[in-house]
Symmetry: C2
Subunit: 215 residues, 2 copies
Protein backbone atom coordinates (compact mmCIF):
# COMPACT_ATOMS: atom_id res chain seq x y z
CA UNK A 1 0.00 0.00 0.00
CA UNK A 2 2.82 2.37 0.87
CA UNK A 3 4.85 1.23 -2.05
CA UNK A 4 2.11 1.63 -4.60
CA UNK A 5 1.24 5.10 -3.44
CA UNK A 6 4.75 6.42 -3.40
CA UNK A 7 5.81 4.65 -6.56
CA UNK A 8 7.47 7.21 -8.76
CA UNK A 9 8.23 9.70 -6.00
CA UNK A 10 11.70 11.08 -6.22
CA UNK A 11 13.82 10.39 -3.18
CA UNK A 12 13.87 14.01 -1.96
CA UNK A 13 10.14 14.21 -2.48
CA UNK A 14 9.69 11.05 -0.49
CA UNK A 15 11.72 12.52 2.38
CA UNK A 16 9.71 15.71 2.33
CA UNK A 17 6.49 13.74 2.31
CA UNK A 18 7.64 11.96 5.41
CA UNK A 19 8.56 15.21 7.13
CA UNK A 20 5.15 16.62 6.34
CA UNK A 21 3.35 13.56 7.65
CA UNK A 22 5.33 13.64 10.87
CA UNK A 23 4.76 17.33 11.39
CA UNK A 24 1.07 16.95 10.60
CA UNK A 25 0.71 14.10 13.05
CA UNK A 26 2.12 16.25 15.83
CA UNK A 27 0.26 19.40 14.83
CA UNK A 28 -3.09 17.65 14.57
CA UNK A 29 -2.49 16.00 17.90
CA UNK A 30 -1.63 19.21 19.69
CA UNK A 31 -3.80 21.76 17.92
CA UNK A 32 -6.61 19.87 16.23
CA UNK A 33 -7.58 19.43 12.61
CA UNK A 34 -8.01 23.17 12.08
CA UNK A 35 -4.36 23.96 12.55
CA UNK A 36 -3.16 26.19 9.68
CA UNK A 37 -1.46 24.16 6.99
CA UNK A 38 1.17 26.84 6.94
CA UNK A 39 2.12 25.90 10.47
CA UNK A 40 2.49 22.28 9.49
CA UNK A 41 4.74 23.30 6.63
CA UNK A 42 6.79 25.41 9.01
CA UNK A 43 7.16 22.55 11.48
CA UNK A 44 8.17 20.25 8.65
CA UNK A 45 10.71 22.83 7.47
CA UNK A 46 9.20 22.64 4.04
CA UNK A 47 7.63 25.29 1.86
CA UNK A 48 3.88 25.54 1.85
CA UNK A 49 3.81 24.86 -1.88
CA UNK A 50 5.59 21.58 -1.31
CA UNK A 51 2.91 20.56 1.12
CA UNK A 52 0.18 21.44 -1.35
CA UNK A 53 1.89 19.50 -4.12
CA UNK A 54 1.92 16.38 -1.98
CA UNK A 55 -1.56 16.82 -0.50
CA UNK A 56 -3.96 18.74 -2.72
CA UNK A 57 -5.96 20.05 0.19
CA UNK A 58 -6.42 19.77 3.93
CA UNK A 59 -8.83 16.86 3.63
CA UNK A 60 -6.22 14.77 1.87
CA UNK A 61 -3.70 15.36 4.62
CA UNK A 62 -6.23 14.70 7.35
CA UNK A 63 -7.22 11.50 5.64
CA UNK A 64 -3.64 10.32 5.43
CA UNK A 65 -3.04 10.93 9.12
CA UNK A 66 -6.38 9.68 10.38
CA UNK A 67 -5.96 6.48 8.39
CA UNK A 68 -3.32 5.38 10.88
CA UNK A 69 -5.46 6.25 13.86
CA UNK A 70 -8.38 4.48 12.29
CA UNK A 71 -6.22 1.40 11.92
CA UNK A 72 -5.48 1.56 15.65
CA UNK A 73 -9.19 1.80 16.25
CA UNK A 74 -9.82 -1.33 14.20
CA UNK A 75 -7.06 -3.14 15.99
CA UNK A 76 -8.37 -2.21 19.43
CA UNK A 77 -11.90 -3.23 18.57
CA UNK A 78 -10.87 -6.57 17.15
CA UNK A 79 -8.51 -7.20 20.03
CA UNK A 80 -11.37 -6.64 22.44
CA UNK A 81 -13.19 -9.55 20.87
CA UNK A 82 -10.45 -11.79 22.21
CA UNK A 83 -10.82 -10.74 25.83
CA UNK A 84 -12.47 -13.49 27.83
CA UNK A 85 -14.85 -11.60 30.07
CA UNK A 86 -17.55 -9.94 27.93
CA UNK A 87 -18.02 -6.99 30.26
CA UNK A 88 -14.32 -6.37 30.58
CA UNK A 89 -13.96 -6.51 26.84
CA UNK A 90 -16.61 -3.85 26.50
CA UNK A 91 -15.44 -1.60 29.31
CA UNK A 92 -11.81 -1.74 28.31
CA UNK A 93 -12.68 -1.01 24.72
CA UNK A 94 -14.63 2.09 25.70
CA UNK A 95 -11.79 3.26 27.88
CA UNK A 96 -9.27 2.59 25.18
CA UNK A 97 -11.16 4.53 22.56
CA UNK A 98 -11.73 7.47 24.87
CA UNK A 99 -8.08 7.33 25.80
CA UNK A 100 -7.17 7.66 22.13
CA UNK A 101 -9.32 10.76 22.01
CA UNK A 102 -7.71 12.17 25.12
CA UNK A 103 -4.25 11.60 23.69
CA UNK A 104 -4.90 13.27 20.36
CA UNK A 105 -7.02 16.28 19.55
CA UNK A 106 -7.12 15.37 15.89
CA UNK A 107 -8.53 11.97 16.74
CA UNK A 108 -11.15 13.59 18.93
CA UNK A 109 -12.35 15.84 16.14
CA UNK A 110 -11.90 13.31 13.39
CA UNK A 111 -13.88 10.58 15.11
CA UNK A 112 -16.85 12.63 16.19
CA UNK A 113 -17.16 16.26 15.22
CA UNK A 114 -16.58 15.65 11.56
CA UNK A 115 -16.03 12.70 9.36
CA UNK A 116 -13.69 13.35 6.52
CA UNK A 117 -13.20 11.36 3.43
CA UNK A 118 -14.74 8.26 1.96
CA UNK A 119 -11.35 6.57 2.18
CA UNK A 120 -11.82 6.13 5.92
CA UNK A 121 -15.27 4.70 5.59
CA UNK A 122 -14.14 1.12 5.07
CA UNK A 123 -11.87 0.82 8.13
CA UNK A 124 -14.42 2.72 10.11
CA UNK A 125 -17.18 0.31 9.20
CA UNK A 126 -14.89 -2.59 10.03
CA UNK A 127 -14.14 -1.13 13.45
CA UNK A 128 -17.76 -0.44 14.16
CA UNK A 129 -18.68 -3.97 13.18
CA UNK A 130 -16.21 -5.34 15.72
CA UNK A 131 -17.52 -2.90 18.30
CA UNK A 132 -21.06 -4.09 17.66
CA UNK A 133 -19.96 -7.65 18.24
CA UNK A 134 -18.33 -6.72 21.53
CA UNK A 135 -21.49 -4.93 22.58
CA UNK A 136 -23.68 -7.82 21.52
CA UNK A 137 -21.59 -10.31 23.47
CA UNK A 138 -21.73 -8.23 26.65
CA UNK A 139 -25.46 -7.83 26.27
CA UNK A 140 -25.97 -11.55 25.79
CA UNK A 141 -23.83 -12.24 28.83
CA UNK A 142 -26.34 -10.19 30.77
CA UNK A 143 -23.93 -7.61 32.14
CA UNK A 144 -24.46 -4.85 29.57
CA UNK A 145 -27.92 -3.31 29.57
CA UNK A 146 -29.96 -4.77 26.72
CA UNK A 147 -30.90 -1.40 25.25
CA UNK A 148 -27.30 -0.34 24.71
CA UNK A 149 -26.40 0.04 21.04
CA UNK A 150 -23.50 1.00 18.81
CA UNK A 151 -24.98 4.49 18.55
CA UNK A 152 -24.59 4.82 22.28
CA UNK A 153 -20.89 4.32 21.93
CA UNK A 154 -20.89 7.17 19.45
CA UNK A 155 -22.74 9.28 21.99
CA UNK A 156 -20.15 8.44 24.59
CA UNK A 157 -17.38 9.44 22.21
CA UNK A 158 -19.11 12.73 21.50
CA UNK A 159 -19.62 13.36 25.20
CA UNK A 160 -15.99 12.60 25.83
CA UNK A 161 -15.02 14.97 23.04
CA UNK A 162 -17.00 17.68 24.79
CA UNK A 163 -15.22 17.18 28.09
CA UNK A 164 -11.84 16.99 26.38
CA UNK A 165 -12.50 20.14 24.39
CA UNK A 166 -13.23 22.09 27.54
CA UNK A 167 -10.63 20.64 29.87
CA UNK A 168 -7.66 19.72 27.73
CA UNK A 169 -4.54 20.86 29.49
CA UNK A 170 -6.06 22.19 32.68
CA UNK A 171 -7.83 19.04 33.90
CA UNK A 172 -6.33 16.20 31.88
CA UNK A 173 -7.91 13.47 33.97
CA UNK A 174 -11.46 14.79 34.02
CA UNK A 175 -12.58 12.57 31.16
CA UNK A 176 -11.76 9.45 33.16
CA UNK A 177 -14.31 10.42 35.74
CA UNK A 178 -17.03 10.95 33.19
CA UNK A 179 -16.32 7.65 31.51
CA UNK A 180 -16.29 5.78 34.81
CA UNK A 181 -19.64 7.32 35.66
CA UNK A 182 -21.12 6.38 32.31
CA UNK A 183 -19.74 2.87 32.34
CA UNK A 184 -21.40 2.36 35.69
CA UNK A 185 -24.70 3.32 34.11
CA UNK A 186 -24.27 0.74 31.38
CA UNK A 187 -24.46 -2.32 33.61
CA UNK A 188 -27.62 -4.37 33.81
CA UNK A 189 -27.38 -4.65 37.57
CA UNK A 190 -27.71 -0.90 37.80
CA UNK A 191 -30.53 -0.37 35.35
CA UNK A 192 -32.50 2.80 35.78
CA UNK A 193 -35.66 3.84 33.98
CA UNK A 194 -35.80 3.09 30.26
CA UNK A 195 -33.66 5.30 28.07
CA UNK A 196 -35.01 7.67 25.42
CA UNK A 197 -34.61 6.20 21.93
CA UNK A 198 -31.15 6.11 20.41
CA UNK A 199 -30.49 8.32 17.41
CA UNK A 200 -30.46 6.43 14.14
CA UNK A 201 -27.13 5.60 12.57
CA UNK A 202 -28.17 7.59 9.53
CA UNK A 203 -28.85 10.66 11.61
CA UNK A 204 -25.53 10.37 13.38
CA UNK A 205 -23.71 10.07 10.08
CA UNK A 206 -25.57 13.05 8.69
CA UNK A 207 -24.78 15.06 11.79
CA UNK A 208 -21.10 14.22 11.61
CA UNK A 209 -20.57 14.92 7.95
CA UNK A 210 -22.50 18.18 8.12
CA UNK A 211 -20.50 19.32 11.09
CA UNK A 212 -17.70 20.76 9.00
CA UNK A 213 -19.39 21.69 5.74
CA UNK A 214 -18.02 25.17 5.24
CA UNK A 215 -14.85 24.24 3.48
Amino acid sequence: MDACKRRGLRRDAEINRERIMTAARVAFRERGLDVPLEEIARRAEVNIATLYRRFPDREALIEAILADHMADFVEAAEAAELTDDPWEAFAELVEHICGMQAADQGVTEGFTVCFPGAALEAPRARAMAAVERVIERARRAGTLRPDFTGQDLMLIMMANAGVLGSTRGAAPQAWRRLIALILGACRTDRLGPPLPPAPSTTDLHAAMSSARPQR
Copy 2:
Protein backbone atom coordinates in the same frame (compact mmCIF):
# COMPACT_ATOMS: atom_id res chain seq x y z
CA MET B 1 -30.46 48.25 35.61
CA ASP B 2 -31.80 48.84 32.11
CA ALA B 3 -32.51 52.45 32.85
CA CYS B 4 -29.13 53.25 34.30
CA LYS B 5 -27.28 51.69 31.41
CA ARG B 6 -29.31 53.35 28.70
CA ARG B 7 -29.48 56.72 30.42
CA GLY B 8 -28.53 59.33 27.91
CA LEU B 9 -29.03 57.18 24.82
CA ARG B 10 -30.85 58.99 22.07
CA ARG B 11 -34.10 57.42 21.05
CA ASP B 12 -32.89 56.16 17.67
CA ALA B 13 -29.80 54.77 19.33
CA GLU B 14 -31.95 53.00 21.89
CA ILE B 15 -34.03 51.44 19.13
CA ASN B 16 -30.93 50.29 17.29
CA ARG B 17 -29.48 48.86 20.44
CA GLU B 18 -32.61 46.82 20.89
CA ARG B 19 -32.51 45.59 17.28
CA ILE B 20 -28.89 44.53 17.74
CA MET B 21 -29.64 42.67 20.95
CA THR B 22 -32.54 40.85 19.36
CA ALA B 23 -30.55 39.90 16.28
CA ALA B 24 -27.61 38.80 18.42
CA ARG B 25 -29.83 36.62 20.58
CA VAL B 26 -31.10 34.80 17.51
CA ALA B 27 -27.74 34.60 15.79
CA PHE B 28 -25.94 33.27 18.86
CA ARG B 29 -28.70 30.75 19.36
CA GLU B 30 -28.58 29.46 15.81
CA ARG B 31 -24.92 29.78 14.93
CA GLY B 32 -23.00 29.99 18.18
CA LEU B 33 -20.82 32.68 19.70
CA ASP B 34 -18.45 32.73 16.76
CA VAL B 35 -21.00 34.09 14.31
CA PRO B 36 -19.51 37.06 12.42
CA LEU B 37 -20.55 40.33 13.99
CA GLU B 38 -21.22 41.55 10.48
CA GLU B 39 -23.98 38.99 10.17
CA ILE B 40 -25.58 40.19 13.36
CA ALA B 41 -25.48 43.74 12.04
CA ARG B 42 -27.06 42.56 8.81
CA ARG B 43 -29.84 40.73 10.64
CA ALA B 44 -30.44 43.81 12.76
CA GLU B 45 -30.54 45.95 9.60
CA VAL B 46 -27.95 48.20 11.14
CA ASN B 47 -24.52 49.20 9.96
CA ILE B 48 -21.59 47.35 11.41
CA ALA B 49 -20.18 50.60 12.78
CA THR B 50 -23.36 51.16 14.76
CA LEU B 51 -22.95 47.78 16.35
CA TYR B 52 -19.36 48.53 17.29
CA ARG B 53 -20.32 51.88 18.76
CA ARG B 54 -22.85 50.21 21.04
CA PHE B 55 -20.71 47.18 21.92
CA PRO B 56 -16.97 47.83 21.79
CA ASP B 57 -16.14 44.25 20.94
CA ARG B 58 -17.63 40.79 20.64
CA GLU B 59 -17.11 40.02 24.32
CA ALA B 60 -19.30 42.94 25.33
CA LEU B 61 -22.13 41.74 23.13
CA ILE B 62 -21.79 38.15 24.28
CA GLU B 63 -21.83 39.33 27.86
CA ALA B 64 -25.00 41.33 27.34
CA ILE B 65 -26.81 38.37 25.80
CA LEU B 66 -25.48 35.71 28.13
CA ALA B 67 -26.47 37.80 31.13
CA ASP B 68 -30.11 36.98 30.40
CA HIS B 69 -29.41 33.28 30.00
CA MET B 70 -27.37 33.30 33.16
CA ALA B 71 -30.32 34.82 34.97
CA ASP B 72 -32.48 31.93 33.73
CA PHE B 73 -29.84 29.58 35.06
CA VAL B 74 -29.96 31.20 38.48
CA GLU B 75 -33.73 31.08 38.47
CA ALA B 76 -33.83 27.39 37.54
CA ALA B 77 -31.28 26.47 40.18
CA GLU B 78 -33.04 28.37 42.93
CA ALA B 79 -36.42 27.03 41.85
CA ALA B 80 -35.06 23.51 42.15
CA GLU B 81 -34.40 24.13 45.82
CA LEU B 82 -38.15 24.41 46.28
CA THR B 83 -38.96 21.01 44.80
CA ASP B 84 -39.96 18.61 47.53
CA ASP B 85 -38.25 15.40 46.50
CA PRO B 86 -34.48 15.87 46.68
CA TRP B 87 -33.73 13.46 43.86
CA GLU B 88 -36.35 14.96 41.58
CA ALA B 89 -35.03 18.41 42.31
CA PHE B 90 -31.58 17.28 41.23
CA ALA B 91 -32.64 15.29 38.19
CA GLU B 92 -34.98 17.95 36.88
CA LEU B 93 -32.36 20.63 37.35
CA VAL B 94 -29.83 18.66 35.34
CA GLU B 95 -32.37 18.09 32.61
CA HIS B 96 -33.39 21.72 32.62
CA ILE B 97 -29.85 22.98 32.29
CA CYS B 98 -29.02 20.55 29.53
CA GLY B 99 -32.26 21.54 27.83
CA MET B 100 -31.14 25.16 27.86
CA GLN B 101 -27.96 24.06 26.17
CA ALA B 102 -29.87 22.09 23.57
CA ALA B 103 -32.10 25.04 22.82
CA ASP B 104 -29.33 27.56 22.31
CA GLN B 105 -25.92 27.08 20.80
CA GLY B 106 -24.63 30.26 22.38
CA VAL B 107 -25.60 28.98 25.80
CA THR B 108 -23.84 25.72 25.10
CA GLU B 109 -20.60 27.47 24.24
CA GLY B 110 -20.94 30.20 26.81
CA PHE B 111 -21.54 27.86 29.71
CA THR B 112 -18.80 25.36 29.03
CA VAL B 113 -16.38 25.90 26.20
CA CYS B 114 -15.46 29.41 27.24
CA PHE B 115 -16.35 31.74 30.02
CA PRO B 116 -16.47 35.33 28.97
CA GLY B 117 -16.42 38.37 31.10
CA ALA B 118 -16.13 39.07 34.78
CA ALA B 119 -19.61 40.59 34.71
CA LEU B 120 -21.13 37.13 34.54
CA GLU B 121 -19.09 35.79 37.39
CA ALA B 122 -21.46 36.97 40.12
CA PRO B 123 -24.68 35.41 38.76
CA ARG B 124 -22.73 32.35 37.83
CA ALA B 125 -21.41 31.92 41.35
CA ARG B 126 -24.91 32.42 42.66
CA ALA B 127 -26.31 29.75 40.37
CA MET B 128 -23.55 27.32 41.26
CA ALA B 129 -24.15 27.91 44.95
CA ALA B 130 -27.79 26.96 44.52
CA VAL B 131 -26.77 23.95 42.46
CA GLU B 132 -24.42 22.84 45.19
CA ARG B 133 -27.22 23.04 47.71
CA VAL B 134 -29.46 20.92 45.49
CA ILE B 135 -26.68 18.37 45.14
CA GLU B 136 -25.95 18.36 48.84
CA ARG B 137 -29.61 17.82 49.68
CA ALA B 138 -29.92 14.87 47.29
CA ARG B 139 -26.75 13.37 48.70
CA ARG B 140 -27.97 13.70 52.28
CA ALA B 141 -31.27 12.14 51.29
CA GLY B 142 -29.23 9.14 50.24
CA THR B 143 -30.40 8.99 46.65
CA LEU B 144 -27.54 10.84 44.99
CA ARG B 145 -24.21 9.08 45.18
CA PRO B 146 -22.10 10.63 47.93
CA ASP B 147 -19.09 11.28 45.73
CA PHE B 148 -21.04 13.47 43.30
CA THR B 149 -19.89 17.10 43.28
CA GLY B 150 -20.62 20.39 41.60
CA GLN B 151 -17.71 19.75 39.29
CA ASP B 152 -19.49 16.66 38.09
CA LEU B 153 -22.36 18.80 36.94
CA MET B 154 -19.86 20.84 34.94
CA LEU B 155 -18.58 17.62 33.43
CA ILE B 156 -22.10 16.65 32.48
CA MET B 157 -22.63 20.02 30.84
CA MET B 158 -19.41 19.64 28.88
CA ALA B 159 -20.38 16.14 27.83
CA ASN B 160 -23.76 17.39 26.75
CA ALA B 161 -22.09 20.18 24.80
CA GLY B 162 -20.06 17.57 22.96
CA VAL B 163 -23.11 15.59 21.95
CA LEU B 164 -24.98 18.73 20.94
CA GLY B 165 -22.07 19.99 18.90
CA SER B 166 -21.96 16.79 16.90
CA THR B 167 -25.68 16.09 16.55
CA ARG B 168 -27.40 19.46 16.46
CA GLY B 169 -29.96 19.39 13.71
CA ALA B 170 -29.60 15.81 12.59
CA ALA B 171 -30.36 14.03 15.87
CA PRO B 172 -31.97 16.64 18.08
CA GLN B 173 -33.02 14.17 20.77
CA ALA B 174 -29.75 12.36 21.16
CA TRP B 175 -28.70 14.41 24.16
CA ARG B 176 -31.71 13.20 26.13
CA ARG B 177 -30.49 9.67 25.91
CA LEU B 178 -27.04 10.56 27.17
CA ILE B 179 -28.44 12.53 30.08
CA ALA B 180 -30.83 9.74 31.02
CA LEU B 181 -27.95 7.30 30.99
CA ILE B 182 -25.79 9.55 33.15
CA LEU B 183 -28.57 10.36 35.61
CA GLY B 184 -29.07 6.65 36.08
CA ALA B 185 -25.42 6.36 37.02
CA CYS B 186 -25.75 9.06 39.66
CA ARG B 187 -28.08 7.19 41.98
CA THR B 188 -26.79 5.58 45.14
CA ASP B 189 -28.77 2.42 44.53
CA ARG B 190 -26.78 1.88 41.35
CA LEU B 191 -23.31 2.61 42.63
CA GLY B 192 -20.50 1.10 40.64
CA PRO B 193 -16.82 1.09 41.51
CA PRO B 194 -15.42 4.33 42.97
CA LEU B 195 -14.98 7.19 40.52
CA PRO B 196 -11.66 8.73 39.60
CA PRO B 197 -11.11 12.04 41.40
CA ALA B 198 -13.09 15.05 40.23
CA PRO B 199 -11.15 17.90 38.64
CA SER B 200 -10.67 20.86 40.94
CA THR B 201 -12.88 23.90 40.49
CA THR B 202 -9.79 25.96 39.84
CA ASP B 203 -8.70 23.65 37.05
CA LEU B 204 -12.12 23.74 35.45
CA HIS B 205 -12.17 27.52 35.57
CA ALA B 206 -8.72 27.69 34.08
CA ALA B 207 -9.72 25.28 31.36
CA MET B 208 -12.78 27.24 30.46
CA SER B 209 -11.22 30.65 30.35
CA SER B 210 -8.26 29.44 28.36
CA ALA B 211 -10.52 27.72 25.87
CA ARG B 212 -10.97 30.83 23.72
CA PRO B 213 -7.76 32.76 24.30
CA GLN B 214 -6.89 33.57 20.69
CA ARG B 215 -8.88 36.76 20.42
